[in-house]
Symmetry: C2
Subunit: 209 residues, 2 copies
C-alpha cells in the first residue's frame, strides 16, 4: 500500500516509516521543518488550510496521524491539525485513517488519575480530535491509545482494551500501529493498549468481533 | 424566567445579568474566583467535572455561556468548559442554551482576515465548542458571533448575518443576547453580528424564517 505518515519526523513517525517499509509498503513521510531521512517526503504544515493539504493525499491508501506538538501548539497541531488532515483525506477519497491518541482521551472521568492529571490540556486536544474522527467523518478509522511512551526495549507483547494505565515502549506502539493496517477487528474502533503478556498479533485476534 | 449566566463576573456577563434583571428575569450568576455583585450567585468552576456542575442547573430555564479565559486557558475554559456546561444542562433537563461565540468561528477559511489572523487558537477553541453545541447536543441553541467587542457607547443598532468583520459595543451585544431569549427566529441558529443600521428587534424579526 501507499501510506502517508503525518508526523514522520517525530519519534513514533520515523520508526513507523521504517517498519512499514520493511513490510513492503511505499511510505510518504510528511514534515514541516525537519525533513526526515526517508526515500519519499512531502511538506505538509498543519497550519495550512485543508485545501493545501489535499495534494499530499494523491494516490494514498491509508493515512497515519502520529504528529504532536508536545504541548507547545495543542490547539493548532494536535486538535485542529489532526481534523484538517481528516478532512483533506476524506475530500481526496482516502478512506483508511489510523490515529495515534492517548489513554483515556475519550474518558474525561479518568483524567484525574496518575500522570494524566498533569495532561489535561493535551487530553482535551486529543479527545476532540478523536471525537471528530469517530462522529464527524466517514473515514474507516482506528484510534490507538497507548499510555506513557518509553524508550525501553520492545517486548512485542501488549494488553489491549485495558482499564488501567501503563507504559508502552515506543517500538511496541509502532508494531501495533503497523499491525492494525491489515488486522480484521480494528475498523471503526478505539484500541487502548499497554505493555502486557500477549503477542501483538494474538491480542488483535482476540478483540471482540 | 430563571437564567443561569456562566461567566457572570466577566465584562459581558455582568452587564447581561443587569439587563436580564431589568426585564424581570431571575438571574443566577456563576463565578469561580471573583464573586459578582449580584443578588444570587453560584460557584461553578469550569475545571470541575460535569457531575459537579449539575447542581447549578436546578430550576434553570435557560443558560447563557459568556465565559472566556482571554487566551489564557483556551482548552480548559473556552472549549472543554463550554462543552461540560452544555452536558450538565442537557443532563439536568435545561434545554435553552445561548452561547457567546466570535465572528467566523465556524468558517476557518476566513481566519486569515483582519484581526482574526492573530486569534487562531481562540477561533479553534470557539469553533469546536460551537460545533459541539450544534452537532452533538439536543439543546435548543442560539450562537451569537460578534466581531471586536468595544467599550464604545451603545448604538442599539446592528447588522446581522454579516459577511464582513466589524466592531460591536459590548452594550449592543448584551442587548442582542437579551433579545434572543424571547425572539422567534433564533432557535438552533448561528447569528453573526456587527454594528449596523437596524434596531436590534427589527433586525431579529427580519431574519429568514
Amino acid at each position: 500500500m501507499k501510506i502517508l505518515i503525518v508526523g514522520a519526523s517525530g519519534r513514533v513517525g520515523y520508526q513507523l516509516a521504517q517498519a512499514l517499509m520493511v513490510q513492503g509498503h511505499q511510505v510518504v513521510g510528511t514534515y514541516s521543518r525537519h525533513q526526515p531521512d526517508l526515500p519519499t517526503t512531502v511538506k505538509l504544515d498543519l497550519h495550512q488550510d485543508v485545501s493545501e493539504m489535499r495534494p499530499a493525499m494523491a494516490g494514498i491508501d491509508a493515512v497515519y496521524f502520529v504528529a504532536g506538538s508536545r504541548g507547545k501548539d495543542l490547539l493548532q497541531t494536535d486538535l485542529n491539525g489532526a481534523i484538517k488532515v481528516m478532512q483533506a483525506a476524506e475530500q481526496s477519497g482516502v478512506s483508511r485513517f489510523i490515529q495515534l491518541s492517548s489513554a483515556y482521551a475519550l474518558q474525561p472521568d479518568r483524567w484525574h488519575e496518575g500522570y494524566l492529571k498533569h495532561l489535561t490540556d493535551y487530553n482535551i486536544a486529543k479527545r476532540y480530535a478523536d471525537e471528530w474522527l469517530m462522529q464527524r467523518t466517514n473515514l474507516d478509522y482506528t484510534i490507538v491509545q497507548p499510555g506513557v511512551l518509553t524508550t525501553e526495549p520492545a517486548t512485542g507483547e501488549v494488553s489491549l482494551d485495558e482499564t488501567t494505565l501503563g507504559d508502552n515502549p515506543i517500538e511496541d506502539v509502532v508494531s501495533l500501529l503497523v499491525a492494525v493496517l491489515t488486522a480484521d477487528r480494528v475498523h471503526d474502533r478505539v484500541i487502548m493498549m499497554k505493555q502486557g503478556h500477549q503477542p501483538i498479533a494474538t491480542a488483535l485476534k482476540k478483540l471482540s468481533a
